[in-house]
């Protein structure tokens, strides 16, 4: 698996889990307790990656996501919507 693919897969999983935990506190009646994997690697993603990711402003974070999304950071041509 390419680095970009690996990074995105893990980042997505743990960012979604963190968002889900937040929504559980906002909509407690509509949710049940989710299953969470345990282990050192999950600890890293949950306790280090997620807080660091969310501390970076969205405009910078978006640039990082786009840079890691394409081989060599080169984006194919697509129309941009403001």
């Amino acid at each position: 698996m390419a680095f970009g693919h690996w990074l995105r897969k893990n980042a997505e999983k743990h960012l979604q889990e963190a968002a889900a935990d937040d929504l559980i506190s906002r909509y407690p009646k509509s949710c049940e307790k989710p299953y969470r994997e345990k282990g050192l690697d999950h600890f890293f993603w949950r306790s280090i990656f997620v807080p660091v990711y969310l501390a970076i402003p969205w405009s910078i974070r978006k640039k990082i996501i786009l840079a890691t999304s394409y081989p060599g950071g080169k984006r194919p041509h697509w129309k941009k919507f403001d």
Partner: protein
């Protein structure tokens, strides 16, 4: 090279492949168009399979849109049950075993495959995936003697299968690790009425539950061992996530993106000249976030196929980034939305404000009126709408389509709050629920 003598090869007979081949043929009637598919059929609606299995649709014949004879008649050389085993970019050939076929333009529409979970017992008989119509026909016959079903993963397909198997009269269990239905993309408040509806139909929900093992007897699945206990069953449906089927493209050296989908531009061109791709095997840019995403709907694949087919035939057509209006029926409830919901806005950390309304679908006194929850997500700085999710009894699909256009055009909450709307007692209420949600959003922002 004269365009009319072009040799265009399409790999894949799903929505993307068949629309690419048909569009190329329509634009260049004299071109040689060959479509390879490893399956027995083309041009049917796989999305309809759960509803035939649930006896909502009487039979599988209803799902076919066109016959193989139709494509032969319009001059497309359809090679059914023919698996392409390699793509050679230097020689411009595809191989089928030892035989090679030359192309001037290639369209790859190899679709998706399920992300098969790594669980002991996954190879037992009676563990099913819903994709191919012939396998679904066989499954339909087997279901006649089955009484208990387990559906793994509360994805859209998992929800449809759980509802339809319960409708068919089977004792049905839906297992998911998340805390609510479709928890990775949909919001819990939107999915709650779906959960209630499925439970009312008899389906049993098991949230926060991990599947640990499939146990069998004589090679056939008999129970599912989970983190919360064991569930007996006659059949298991795996409604796992889809991943792009890109073995051929990857081996050939065509560039893939971070999602695992083929990198394409807005002309559906890949990293290799004269090679195009369309549908679930590609990754497409999201209109709001600009981030490439993968795994869209059949209607996206169909449209992308038309663009790829047209450009392969020498035309110059572009495909816009996607805003993804979606909708479905879960249990007896319609749900839908556009772009990202609250869950994914939070996950990505995009600044947003959330606004709700509870509206009605018709005049409050008109028979058949149903309530509708509309949630709008907007940019707090510009007030532009970024996403929406809805649940109700009717009118969800049309609102999702409308809101997709709203977001694409950069419409703000201020504009939506005072939108004009149809008022006619049998089909529309005086107060449009979308406008009510936008007004609630403006109140929230003024606090």
């Amino acid at each position: 090279m004269a365009q009319e003598n072009l040799r265009i090869i399409v790999i894949g007979g799903g929505a993307g492949g068949i629309s690419a081949a048909s569009t190329s043929k329509g634009l260049l009637p004299d071109a040689s168009i060959t479509l390879f598919t490893e399956f027995e059929d083309v041009a049917y609606s796989p999305c309809g399979i759960p509803f035939v299995l649930g006896k909502e649709i009487p039979n599988f014949d209803n799902l076919f849109l066109q016959t193989a004879e139709h494509y032969a008649k319009i001059g497309i050389d359809l090679r059914l049950q023919t698996k392409v085993t390699g793509i050679n970019l230097e020689d411009r050939t595809v191989s089928v075993g030892s035989e090679a076929f030359e192309w001037d333009r290639l369209v790859i529409a190899t679709g998706f495959e399920y992300d098969e979970p790594d669980i002991p017992g996954i190879d037992l008989d009676g563990i099913k995936y819903v994709k191919n119509i012939r396998r679904a026909m066989e499954f339909d016959k087997e279901l006649e003697t089955m009484k208990k079903a387990v559906v793994v993963c509360a994805t859209p397909l998992g929800i449809e299968m759980a509802g339809n198997l319960a409708h068919r009269g089977l004792e049905t269990h839906l297992i998911d690790e998340g805390g609510w239905l479709m928890s990775e993309v949909a919001d819990p408040d939107i999915m709650e009425p779906v959960k209630e509806s499925l439970e009312k139909m008899g389906a049993q929900m098991h949230f926060g539950t991990k599947v640990l093992e499939f146990k069998g007897e004589g090679g056939k699945v008999k129970s599912v061992v989970t983190s919360e206990g064991e569930i007996e069953c006659d059949v298991v449906v795996i409604a796992a996530h889809k991943k792009p089927n890109n073995h051929l493209s990857s081996e050939a050296g065509i560039e893939l993106g971070a999602t695992g989908g083929i990198l394409v531009d807005d002309h559906m061109k890949t990293s290799v000249d004269n090679v195009f791709a369309a549908g679930d095997c590609t990754e497409i840019v999201h209109g709001v976030t600009d981030i490439p995403i993968q795994g869209l709907s059949g209607s996206h694949a169909y449209s992308q196929g038309r663009i790829a087919g047209a450009n392969a035939a020498g035309d110059d057509r572009a495909y816009d980034p996607v805003f993804i209006p979606w909708g479905m029926v879960g249990g007896q409830v319609q749900i839908g939305g556009v772009s990202l919901g609250e869950t994914l806005h939070k996950a990505l950390g995009i600044p947003h404000v959330v606004a709700f309304s509870m509206g009605i679908s018709r005049a409050r006194y008109y028979p058949g009126v149903t309530s509708m929850r509309v949630k709008l997500i907007a940019d707090p700085a510009t007030h532009k709408v970024l996403g929406a999710q809805m649940a109700g009894g009717e009118g969800i699909k049309e609102r999702a389509d409308f809101l997709a256009f709203v977001i694409k055009r950069g419409v703000t909450l201020d504009e939506l709050a005072w939108m004009e709307n149809v008022y006619s007692p049998p089909i529309g209420a005086l107060m449009e629920p979308i406008a009510l949600a936008a007004q609630a959003g403006l109140r929230e922002l003024s606090k």
